[in-house]
Amino acid sequence: MKEVFRPRTFSELWQLRRQHENAALYAGGTDLLVQMRAAKINPQTLICLERLAEIGRIEEFNDEIAIGAGVSQHHLLENPTILKYFPVLCQALQALGSPHIRNMATIGGNIMTASPAGDTLPPLYILQAELELRSQKTQRRLPLADFINGPGQTGISPGEILSRIFIPKEPVFAGHYFEKIGLRQALSIAVVSIAALYNISTERKITAIRLAWGSLGPTIVTLPEVETFLIGKTLNPATLNAAATLVEQQVKPISDIRAGADYRRRVAGQLLLRLDQPANYRQTSA
């Protein structure tokens, strides 16, 4: 590697990208520098996005929140607006890496790395996050779920960067839940993770539910049939056990160094039983 650039503005960035078409981009560096050290990649030029102010802000609009792709995971966790609207995202951030990693790593990096085990991805899927992609001449917006195609594979075009992540404030869910099963608490890669958003009526009937699992397939797994099954049913262990069986029938996880496929399948279903714990269901301010 010969050069590192640290643009502060989009215009500096676009100029650098014209001059160095094959440059690799990074923000926190917690993934890229590990790959470079392992000699998996050897870019001649690096562009570090950490000082690009235009992707470093959190903005609140009437109906949505925009998170700059370069916002560190630590700053997201400290932000009262994010905690107010998106507790499920904060729960996932608390489980991500370690405090030092969260001080460096960015939300945009977690998306661009596109790992099936990326901790922010299941919450961002069910929060129906949309991504803003910019290049010198173009700007487009698309759902996160349409952007990630497989491990490390995204729909980014040459010359584009991920600039902002938009999350709608509504609908409001009172139930926010994230859990990661790993081999240890801190610094672990998910064996299976689940993110859930749900509402129940005063009679404990499930009125709305969104679910997503990490580390169960090449991308984040959603199971619309399970969600449909749960709608209108009473939230209790019998309902959740029946839904867990459905989950186990539908998912096709792999075996790898961290866990076997059978274990993953079983845990993916059983994690649903947590939704019956009152602590995971709280009246949000909205």
Binding site: G29, T30, P99, H100, A186
Partner: protein, 157 residues
């Protein structure tokens, strides 16, 4: 490339290859070998340094990223050959065995106490969750950080 930053209270200018990691710059060019490299992949915390008040991992930072920053390494804590109360507490509490994790642990605790002067045990354990220690089982490290916090609180009263 030429990099200028503030290192342990002193402005420094270093000419270094752009691909140099911060941990290599510190250890090999500036001879500050207190910063340790354990895993080189962000998983052990041995290379923890404080950059502009925030803990970061020197194995996952390029030297170029230190430009214009205030950097504290373990060598920057002592003042006129006196250890800090936090360092004294680590010694008093037996929080050091082989010593390899100690610089990262102390700097992590330093950053914690700067933000949270009297942390709970849970807060201490959470703060050091990115620093692996294979000797102590963490108990004495947690107790020593508490000791330092309480000693300082006692002095303030």
């Amino acid at each position: 490339m030429l990099i200028k930053f503030n290192l342990n209270g002193q402005d420094v200018e270093v000419e270094t290859p752009p691909a140099r990691r911060a941990v290599d710059l510190l250890r090999e060019e500036l001879n500050l070998t207190g910063t340790k490299e354990g895993c080189g992949a962000g998983e052990c915390g041995a290379c923890t340094i404080i950059v502009d008040g925030t803990t970061k991992l020197a194995c996952l930072l390029l030297a170029a990223q230190l430009e214009g920053c205030r950097v504290t390494t373990i060598e920057g804590l002592e003042h006129e050959n006196e250890l800090t109360p936090l360092q004294e507490a680590f010694i008093a509490g037996g929080a050091i065995q082989c010593g390899f994790c100690t610089p990262g642990m102390v700097l992590t605790a330093q950053a914690l106490l700067a933000k949270t002067p009297l942390p709970t045990e849970a807060e201490i354990r959470s703060a050091i969750s990115g620093n692996l220690c294979r000797c102590t089982g963490y108990q004495k490290i947690v107790e020593s950080i508490r000791l330092a916090a309480h000693r300082r609180a006692g002095e303030l009263q």
